[in-house]
Amino acid sequence: MSERQQDFRGDPQVSALYREHARDEPSAAGDERIIAAARAAVRAAQTVARRTWWQRWRTTLALATTLVLTLTLSLLHERQPADQRRETEVAPPRSAAPGVSPAGVARDLAAPASAPAAPEQAAPAAVAGEAVAGAGAVASRAAPRQPASEERRSRQSAAPTTGQSGLSPAAAGSPPQSDGPFVDRQGVAAVGSAPPVAKESNAAPAAAPAAPTVGGAEHEAAALGQAPAARKQARAVAKSSADDGRGADEWLEEIRALRREGRSVEAAQQLADFRRAHPEYPLPQEFRQ
């Protein structure tokens, strides 16, 4: 006001008269509403300010963590080699029992609840089959933590390799055999009759009878009316066991060696197995004929 009076004198009499009679006031209800709104606004702001760091960011953090975990798992899954992934999915105990017949493992996975084979059918097993079954028994004894039921299953899985793949419905209903004596008898027979598996010279002949079971396991799964997923698992096990842990180049080198030795039939059989195990592997020119 003083500044206004400095640059503009105004009319003090009019101003005084006006101020003397200026008594209009807003309503009390209006006053209360305005003050209440002002206090409510302050309370709302304080409520927002009191929220802790965790309360303000927890939703964002949860979303970010979920996203990071999902991406990490996806990347890890993609970078895992395809063969290793399949093995992880199927998880066959190959390292624990290397002598177990692949077809038997496939049978285990495809039909874990299938009925045990009758003793009459297991008796006329071929010598090679006994060797494989015996190796399985030895392996089962070598793994002390393997439960008896798994031992029985691995013993039963040896039967299909001996030509017993077609289990009749009657056999499925036959009573199960006691574990102890059978395992011991088979194990002793295997140790006594089967050639040493560890010798490299005998490794190829030992693998030869197992080779037909690569496709056989799948056929068995189909014949037993198993689900496509079980057949797929059986195929994966058959493939992983057909290459026997060898690399593709190593396998081809063995086939070359067989050809050089004049064992063309075995070489052709090995090549067929190779093609089944590695269908997308580019074959060298010499094997394309």
Binding site: V14, A37, R39, A45
Partner: protein, 195 residues
């Protein structure tokens, strides 16, 4: 304590979360702001509504408040904008006068002031208010052209200087000075027997 604080300091305290500071600020300016509004719109009920809206704008705009000008300048500027919004909706002829004079110089403003219509003496509430001095003053103010009345009320109720009124109304300083001179002259003429 807070009663000695300036308006700007109280508003800053309210911005920081002190509700009592707002109460004190409100008590200081509720009357002048209400009288400015009721004199300008002529309707106590409407003035009460506008008064609440202006203060709600102050509450909402507290986080953006900076003491760049005096608090009354900011407050009455908000009130003036709210009045213009009201004129835009209900009295477009007054709005045209407000908008057309925004950038006028002093002479053009004076010419416009001479052409502004006075408040009608036949309005019922004006006839009823003629019985005492307060009513006489109110009538004299109602008879003023809106822009002259606005400048007078901003000076008397808001305590704004000529420069602050010029800023609040968006006019030049000389235009403001001229309007105030005319308003005081007319009031003196109307209230001569009371002075």
């Amino acid at each position: 304590m807070q009663t000695d604080w300036s308006d700007e300091r109280l508003m800053l305290a309210y911005r920081a979360g002190d509700a009592d500071a707002f109460t004190l600020l409100y008590r200081r300016h509720r009357g002048p702001l209400y009288r400015y509004l009721v004199r300008q719109c002529g309707d106590p009920a409407l003035a009460d509504e506008l008064h609440q809206e202006v203060w709600l704008k102050v509450i909402k705009g507290r986080s953006q408040y900076e003491p760049l000008a005096r608090f009354p300048t900011w407050l009455f500027r908000i009130a003036r904008h709210r009045l213009i919004d009201h004129y835009r909706q209900h009295a477009r002829h007054l709005l045209a006068q407000y908008e057309s004079t925004a950038n006028d110089d002093a002479d053009e403003g004076d010419e416009l002031i001479e052409r502004l219509p006075a408040a009608s003496e036949e309005m019922p509430h004006v006839l009823h208010e003629r019985h005492d001095t307060a009513r006489r003053i109110s009538l004299a103010l109602d008879e003023l052209p809106p822009l002259q009345r606005e400048v007078f009320l901003l000076a008397e109720e808001g305590g704004l200087t000529l420069d602050e009124i010029a800023v609040a109304t968006g006019c030049g300083r000389e235009t403001t000075k001229s309007r105030l001179r005319y308003a005081l002259g007319k009031l003196r003429t109307s209230l001569r027997d009371l002075l």
